[in-house]
Amino acid sequence: MIVEGKQKIWADYQKDIPDDHYFYVRSCIRQSFWPASEVTFLDIVRNKLGKDFYENEYHTTCGGIAYHSDSIPQETAMTIIARQFALMHESGYENYVCSCITSFGLYTETLETWHEFPELEAKIRQYLWDSCKKEFAKPKYLAHASDMIYKFRFDIAKQMKFPLVNVKTGKPLKVVEHIGCHYSKMFPSKGFGGAEYPHVLVGMIEAWGGEVVDYPERRHCCGFGFRQYFVQGNRGYSESNTYKKFESMEPYEPDLIITNCPGCPYFLDRWQYVIAEQTGKTYGKNGYGIPALTYEEVAGLVMGYDPWDLGLQMHQVAIEPLLEKMGIPYDPKKKYQGVNGKDLGQPQCPSCIKSV
């Protein structure tokens, strides 16, 4: 591996991100899978970094799930998006940042399509007015939330309490980065580092002291794919893709997977359990599996947030071995306690993959 070669590509694929004042929209899936991630993101950018990120209670889904599963036509999805942009405009913002990769891909696709086909844009402008009586507006700048953490990765590093280092050996943790397909595979120039060697997560890992693992199936999709997942009979296809990735990364003995897409951490996490149940195979040391975290969770961990406040108990793969490696203190008793100390109940332990 010639790092200079990658650095050259990274330098070629940079984007100028406005420093401040963003309109923030959430992800449908993430709100239910990893609710703490978005909260942590807002807490970091607002309270730790002192930036202006505005949220509007009226924003909805971007329509991506329905669009990608062929439930709604493109015009409908575009009108939903136009409404989101109108909300941003009404709120006095012109920089749009979304939490979801599917949304980011769809927003980018939509903006590019409008650019290429102005007549379609005119049509959507009309639809928006007809349906919502809202005024059409386009963001001046579109970013994904991981772009923001990437941009502020060194600021976060300054406040870092637990770097991505194994406290017992002093060596950097081996971290697999997994980029959501729709981040830059469709429009390479829209992602940090481009499509082949994206830098958005690599930059975070390196800034926070970890060592990036580049393995043969790095580019491969986690296997989520709405159509694959929605139909039970097709889920084996989804699972097989995850399986392929794990088989490929296994020899590198990674400590952690970091992702920037709603579905990826969920499937990279849960399929480890399913694979273990079906084949008896587990990954990672001692049969615990390899934790797959969102970038906000990792940012929160290195900045010293309480693991349970970050919602890490929501992961199937036990997080405790990682916390111990990083030397992060945690109270095992609090793992299944709600915000008010209420007992949430302990999940049933799976038979194959180890849990604490």
């Binding site: 591996m1 010639i2 070669g5 590509i9 481009g194 499509a195 082949e196 580049d214 043969p216 199936e217």
Partner: protein, 336 residues
């Protein structure tokens, strides 16, 4: 009659055109931007289809031009048309006048790093066809370390709308097979694979080379474009492609991957070309006046084109064009 003819470019086309123009009684002047004549072909070891030494051909060309006025390390910085023809200012400060200009500016090799998925410049064992040619000449390349499995990827930067080149680069197929055979000669134990889209064996003896590649050298040709290259733990290359004839994707581990880089228009001449008013065609190469009967004329009077500046060409094609451009120039100068 002694008329200056300004030849820009000292590669195969420029040298051969100059040789012929001199024989016709004109005074060619070669302006070459690098420090030696010979162009790309001088960097080549063997020529397809019969493995002739490129050196033999090039040294004969050198002999032919030894009495021709040649500027090395020199570029044309400005060129103006005047009543007698052209006035060119050179980067060394000199200026020359000529009756006609021959653009024999050749090609640039496609920058392999632009096809990022092949990992050129990122993975150690990904090299270009030109680098392999250098290895054949020098037998030195630390990346080529007794490889057991070698892959060749055709059409790198050609027939690829993603890099903006939709044309076929013409010579890469034959070159790949030639280099594949040569690799088998150097590393008889190695398995050699070529990943091709179509094997365009367009010239005499080329199809025989293909047959020989299959029969005598046991080179395995797989129809399908390599789409993804990664490195495994041992630093070997893991590639993915579809075997389109079999209808299944395949993956394999290679020790060396050679990228058959296409030809692109030499862009360093863009400014002069603009001054002369010579347009580009849709492939980005220089536009000639007519595909059949005016292939060496540009649309501008007194400006001629020869060799790979108008399209990817093989060496025999280029030499043929250089000779025909000499006749064109001769007729032009005499009829003026």
């Amino acid at each position: 009659m002694k008329e200056n003819i300004i030849i820009i470019g000292g590669g195969a086309a420029g040298m051969e055109a100059a040789t012929q123009l001199q024989k016709l009684g004109l005074t060619p002047v070669i302006i070459e931007k690098s420090n030696a004549l010979g162009g790309h072909i001088a960097q080549w070891d063997k020529l397809f289809p019969a493995f002739h030494n490129a050196k033999d051909v090039v040294s004969k060309m050198f002999d032919n031009v030894k009495d021709i006025k040649t500027y090395l390390n020199t570029e044309v910085t400005d060129i103006q048309r005047n009543a007698d023809g052209f006035h060119a200012v050179l980067s060394n400060g000199e200026a020359i006048d000529g009756k006609a200009v021959v653009l024999a500016t050749g090609f640039d090799l496609f920058k392999a790093e632009r096809k990022q998925e092949y990992g050129y410049g990122i993975y150690n064992n990904v090299i270009t066809s030109l680098e392999l040619e250098k290895f054949f000449r020098t037998r030195k390349d630390e990346r080529i370390n007794n490889p057991k499995k070698i892959g060749f990827v055709h059409c790198v930067g050609a027939r690829d709308v993603k890099v903006g080149n939709t044309y076929c680069s013409k010579v890469c197929c034959t070159t790949a097979l030639k280099q594949a055979c040569e690799m088998k000669e150097v590393f008889p134990e190695a398995e050699v694979y070529t990943f091709y889209m179509d094997l365009r064996m367009f010239g005499p003896g080329y199809e025989d080379l293909y047959l020989k590649t299959q029969k005598d050298y046991d080179v395995k040709c797989i129809r399908g474009r390599v789409c993804e290259v990664s490195e495994d733990m041992d630093g070997r290359l893991v590639i993915k492609a579809e075997d389109t004839l079999f209808g299944k994707p395949l993956r394999m581990t290679l020790d060396l991957l050679v990228l058959m880089c296409s030809m692109e228009k030499n862009k360093s001449i863009d400014k002069i070309q603009q001054q002369l008013g010579v347009e580009n065609n849709s492939d980005g190469f220089m536009q000639n006046r007519d595909m059949y009967l005016g292939m060496n004329d540009s649309k501008q009077e007194g400006v001629f084109v020869a060799g790979t500046c108008t399209a990817p060409k093989s060496l025999p094609d280029t030499i043929g064009e250089a000779r025909s451009v000499a006749v064109e120039v001769f007729n032009y100068v005499n009829n003026k």
